[in-house]
């Protein structure tokens, strides 16, 4: 069982959350090129190691936040509200 640290509710069981994936991809401008849009929609760094990702506390406060987690060891490193880096 993973314990996901919600910035508002603290550590809770993973079953309370919904996962949405890579939080580093940024939506391009409408005027940006097709290849930028292709990258945004489809390609991912997909690292083996630290990954910044979106989680939603569906069964709790229902807020979105970012988690830093290691995809190889499943170690959860940190979490933060959805601020811009």
């Amino acid at each position: 069982m993973l314990l996901i640290p919600c910035p508002w509710c603290g550590k809770r069981a993973q079953t309370e959350f919904t996962y949405r994936g890579d939080a580093t991809v940024e939506r391009p401008d409408l005027a940006d090129s097709d290849s930028q849009w292709y990258d945004y929609v489809y390609t991912r760094d997909n690292p083996r190691g630290e990954h910044t990702e979106w989680w939603h506390h569906t069964g709790g406060c229902r807020k979105w936040f970012k988690v830093r987690r290691n995809t190889w060891t499943h170690e959860v490193i940190s979490s933060e509200p959805p601020v811009r880096d």
């Binding site: 996962y19 994936g21 390609t43 991912r44 760094d45």
Partner: protein, 423 residues
């Protein structure tokens, strides 16, 4: 080139070796030292990499092939899957490819002189609502139009076919019917890796285990070779067939793929007498169940649903999958689980695989297999070999190109969108 003699397996060889107490069976494949260069390097000795090497040597006359494997051959997803083989797809780009693969399965034991225990026990998808029955009718008709067998079943027929299934109205997801592909079934996963390895080795392919690729050398947008923990190896053509490690290998060549790695778990119960004679799947809670020849009930469900490179998963998914199995087969309630394990899956953004060229000359990619690459093994190797040998895809894998994500010609069977974990 040191060619190992193809020692055929037969009733006669079994008898002869029995007389010497099975102490004189020859090695099934060599354990060669890597050479300085090859004509083709395949990275990854799973079923797909080994099948590719086999067909490259057998059908395209390519000599000097190496398959590089970081661990032991067949130790990746090939040795971790629930062994279901089928071709029940709706979209032409998938259907024709998987059907070609299924046809190769039908002759595979003979082709390889190796019993892959392919058992066409049928694959039954259960429907739990009227609308699901309708979508099954659509898919079944699409399959028939492509010359693939499909049969829509009513609850009575299903009750007869799978007597232990809870077909009552009081169950959590009552059964409205199903779609059956009779020619689908299961195969012995390890035997597929071993059979292709033995066949490829006999054709002169060097299978090099404990050889991890750590770099890909590219000059003027053309691949020249790879770096490994056993030295650098040159080759004008490099094919990747590394499943969950696709992203890492692509990154070595400076590329990004429409793929994420996720862990998928499977599990078996203690062995029972035969009670489930076909493969049963249900989309209501997403489970797929069959009984192995050893008697274990083998099943799997959804991904753990977060990016992962760990070949192990977490208990909540196991609990959910077990609950789903028990709603369908309440009679298994007192049976004990014996083992659970996980594999790192190459989840593509439209749920369909990629077999094709990469934007670097001489580099080819095979991956994005999601939940269903085991059944593709023969067809995947066959098409990938053609693509590498001719530097262009075969008609059967044209639609499976990497470019489809840029051009918009996606193959999203369920129309579930660009989330790797939703397929």
């Amino acid at each position: 080139m040191a060619k190992s003699p193809f020692k055929r397996y037969s009733g006669f060889s079994l008898l002869r070796n029995a007389l010497s107490n099975h102490r004189r069976w020859p090695r099934a494949w060599r354990d060669p030292e890597p050479r300085k260069s090859y004509d083709v390097i395949i990275v990854g000795a799973g079923g797909h990499g080994l099948a590719t090497a086999y067909y490259l040597a057998k059908l395209h006359g390519v000599k000097n092939i190496a398959v590089l494997e970081k661990g032991w051959l067949g130790g990746g997803n090939t040795g971790r899957n629930t062994t279901i083989v089928r071709s029940n797809y709706m979209l032409d780009g998938n259907a024709n490819f998987y059907e070609h693969s299924l046809k190769l399965w039908e002759g595979l034991s003979k082709e390889l002189n190796y019993n892959v225990m392919f058992s066409q026990r049928g694959v039954l998808n259960l429907a739990h609502s009227d609308s699901e029955m309708e979508s099954f009718a659509i898919r079944g008709n699409a399959m028939r139009l492509n010359g693939i067998d499909a049969e829509l079943l009513l609850p009575d027929q299903i009750r007869q076919m799978v007597p232990h299934l809870d077909c009552s109205q009081s169950t959590r997801y009552p059964i409205f019917g199903g779609l059956l592909q009779e020619r689908g079934g299961t195969a012995r996963h390890d035997a597929v890796a071993w059979g292709y390895a033995r066949g490829a080795d006999a054709l002169g392919v060097d299978i090099i285990q404990n050889c991890e690729v750590s770099g890909i050398r590219v000059k003027d947008n053309r691949v020249v070779g790879v770096d490994t923990n056993r030295g650098s190896i040159d080759a004008p053509k490099v094919g990747l067939a590394v499943a969950g490690n696709s992203g890492r290998l692509a990154a070595m060549a400076g590329l990004k793929l429409p793929i994420e790695s996720h862990v998928l778990q499977a599990m078996v119960t203690e062995p029972l007498k035969p009670i489930i004679h076909t493969v049963v799947t249900s989309g209501a809670s997403h489970v797929y169940i069959n009984q192995t020849d050893k008697g274990e009930v083998l099943f799997g469900g959804d991904l753990d649903l977060y990016n992962s490179y760990a070949q192990r998963g977490n208990l909540p998914r196991i609990e959910y999958v077990v609950q789903s199995v028990l709603t369908l087969f309440p009679c298994l309630r007192r049976v004990r689980l014996m083992r659970t394990w996980g594999g790192v899956m190459d989840m593509s953004m439209d749920g369909s695989p990629i077999i094709g060229k990469l934007p670097i000359d001489g580099m080819y990619f095979n991956g994005g297999w999601c939940y269903g690459g085991f059944k593709a093994t023969p067809g995947s190797g066959w098409c990938f070999a053609h693509t590498i040998a001719n530097d262009e895809p075969h008609e059967l894998n044209k639609a499976l190109s990497l470019e489809r994500f840029e051009t918009g010609a996606l193959l999203d069977e369920k129309g579930s969108g660009a989330f790797a974990f939703s397929h």
